[in-house]
């Protein structure tokens, strides 16, 4: 990576998040650490979505399905560990757990699996049809989660404490922030590696011209499917972290508003920009809580702000900061 202006801005964003959390720690403002953690988590979710939406041109309006799935994996495993019951007893006995090291791989695997199923069925369509069919799958899961009583239905599922990580006290805000921050770094590196790899070349080629990719001997369906699965896995991981942040998970994580929010973070920050989701999530969440504290009608001002951003700053925040045009998708 050469030292361009974008690289510099990315570094400032990334280090800035860490510094903000550390300053908050020194000033004993745990809520600011919580907000920084939330930014990190939604950035991870956005990075997952950006891989499909930004680099692959797969505008998914159903990423809440993966976010929620990861969230519920954490919630369900922790809940069983808390009550000391089995998750299922057939074909093998599966006990609950509250170790993050156990929960993460299970959550990533299962979210990716859900992405595989949804992807196989959805990727036959494109354009607006793809947007809507992914939404449809997320809505199905949402309604299922609301009415399925075993794990609380719409009341949701409290886990009371955060899951554990060896050597850390995860209930301490700054320590949990650091876990999420490390995951943010890992996700960014992973995304960067993928984008610049052979697979990334094929993925971006597929977004621009599917026929071309086919005619050079690459199956675009497989490329898109693999990207969608990786995307779902990353977003699912973010979901488990979000459950831990709140010590609680409820069907609202599956709602179309969640899909919409993650999408807004990505677009706001800049589509197909590596650090776009981080910029978008940071701005949105900061605005949400500062405006929310100032006026009852903060959503009106947030809406006007978003309108301004989209009308006058093509390429999203990162685009403005680097004064480059956005990439059309």
């Amino acid at each position: 990576m050469t030292l361009t202006r974008e690289t510099a801005i990315n570094a400032v964003l990334f280090v800035g998040l860490l510094i903000a959390a550390l300053i908050a720690y020194l000033l004993d403002e745990p809520f600011i650490i919580t907000m920084a953690t939330k930014v990190a988590i939604f950035s991870i979710a956005g990075i997952g979505l950006n891989l499909a939406l930004g680099y692959g041109g797969l505008v998914s309006f159903g990423h809440a399905a993966f976010f929620g799935f990861g969230g519920y994996v954490a919630g369900i495993l922790a809940n069983h560990a808390l009550n000391n019951t089995l998750v299922f007893s057939w074909p093998i006995e599966m006990a609950g757990t509250n170790s993050m090291l156990m929960i993460w791989p299970v959550a990533i695997f299962l979210s990716a699996l859900v992405a595989l199923l949804i992807g196989v069925l959805s990727l036959r369509t494109s354009g607006v049809y793809f947007i809507m069919i992914t939404l449809a799958f997320a809505q199905m899961i949402y309604y299922f989660a609301i009415s399925w009583p075993a794990y609380g239905g719409e009341d949701g599922l409290p886990t009371y404490i955060r899951n554990s990580f060896p050597g850390l006290n995860t209930l301490n805000p700054i320590e949990f922030f650091l876990i999420c921050f490390v995951w943010l770094g890992v996700s960014l590196m992973l995304c960067s590696a993928i984008v610049h790899s052979r697979f990334g070349l094929a993925l971006q080629g597929t977004r621009q011209n599917e026929q071309r990719v086919t005619s050079v001997g690459i199956d675009p369906f497989r490329v898109k499917l693999v990207a969608f699965v990786i995307s779902g896995g990353i977003t699912g991981l973010a979901g488990t972290l979000y459950t831990d942040l709140n010590r609680f998970v409820s069907p609202s994580v599956f709602s179309w508003q969640t899909s919409g929010e993650i999408m807004v973070f990505v677009i706001l920050g800049g589509v197909a920009r590596l650090f776009g989701p981080l910029a978008g999530a940071a701005l949105f969440i900061t605005m949400e809580f500062t405006l929310g504290g100032m006026t009852e009608h903060w959503q009106l001002w947030l809406g006007l702000l978003l309108l301004f951003v989209v009308l006058y700053t093509p390429g999203g925040l990162i685009g403005v900061l680097t004064s480059g045009r956005g990439k059309d998708v």
């Binding site: 809520f31 600011i32 919580t34 009583p149 009341d155 949701g156 009371y160 805000p173 942040l245």
Partner: protein, 379 residues
Amino acid sequence: MKKLGAFLAGLSALALIGTAQAEPVKIGMITTLSGGGAGLGIDVRDGFMLAVKNSGNSDIEVVVEDDQRKPDIAVQLADKMIQSEKVDILTGIIWSNLAMAVVPATTAQGKFYLSPNAGPSALAGKGCHKNYFNVAWQNDNLHEAAGAYANDAGFEKSFIVAPNYPAGKDALTGYKRFFKGTIANEIYTQLGQKDYAAEIAQIRASGADSVFFFLPGGMGISFMKQYAGSGVDIPLVGPAFSFDQGILQAVGEAALGVKNTSQWNKDIDNAANKAFVAGFQAEYGRLPSLYASQGYDTANLIISAMGKASVSDADAFRSALEAADFDSVRGDFKFGPNHHPVQDIYVREVIKEGDVFTNKIIAKGLSNHSDAYAVDCSM
């Protein structure tokens, strides 16, 4: 010189307050102030703030935040209030699913939570906590009273309807727990559903002699308007949530004469209630709702406890809360062993006073009623 004088005056004022009162209390209120469900949160807040204002107690500081009716936002606000604002008591949540998110997180951090509205069964039984008090009702209560009323009214076959989510299931369970007749049909509708033509058609064909429905907010408005327009004349019974002062005007004529159950109404005859209703109208220019009364009682409960104990002494303050030594707008009010109310629940009828739709009490549904989950609670 002038500045110094002001400074000294300020200091002495502070000193005065310090001696007059034991210790200031900081209360965090997380409630719904934006979006579709904002009316309920605004009423709870306004009722609460009215009581604080009336008390003239300057040692109470209230921080209010909007949860947007999202459980995750509510938890994050609770963290903010506990960790950054250092509040002593949390209150304000309207919805059961948000309460399920916030209450365990709050009590786990050693703070008090006083619920002005939601009372999910999970927090009344095995999940009860010594620092969790419910000032409104356990979710099943009003439905149980509706069941009891249906017996008194001589109904024998009920058609029962609620949304397909936990509070909806609690509602139908609560009604069936007390209703002695048979159930013609039991229908769960989609949460947020606004068209009930299909359900009303089934009601028409069911041969029931009564309909019990729990459809809070906009769902209830839609249901009643459509029911009135359908020509079906089987009597309706419901809990107060669909008949509260805030939405009754939107339902209009369609609600007239419908019986509903509530632990409060503006015509309950006691001095506290009269002062509340008059004060609320004077302050905000509208009639108070059920939710406002619950917010008002919650604030008065806290104020009564502050007079007896310092909030920093958790055990003493808890005992002071348990005593519930305040003038409730409901009349008699006391807590059961699971810190949920033991109270009378009334049957009301929707009437029109001048241009305004409102309720009047016509009977008592249940006396000194507790809840079914208290036996499971051990603190």
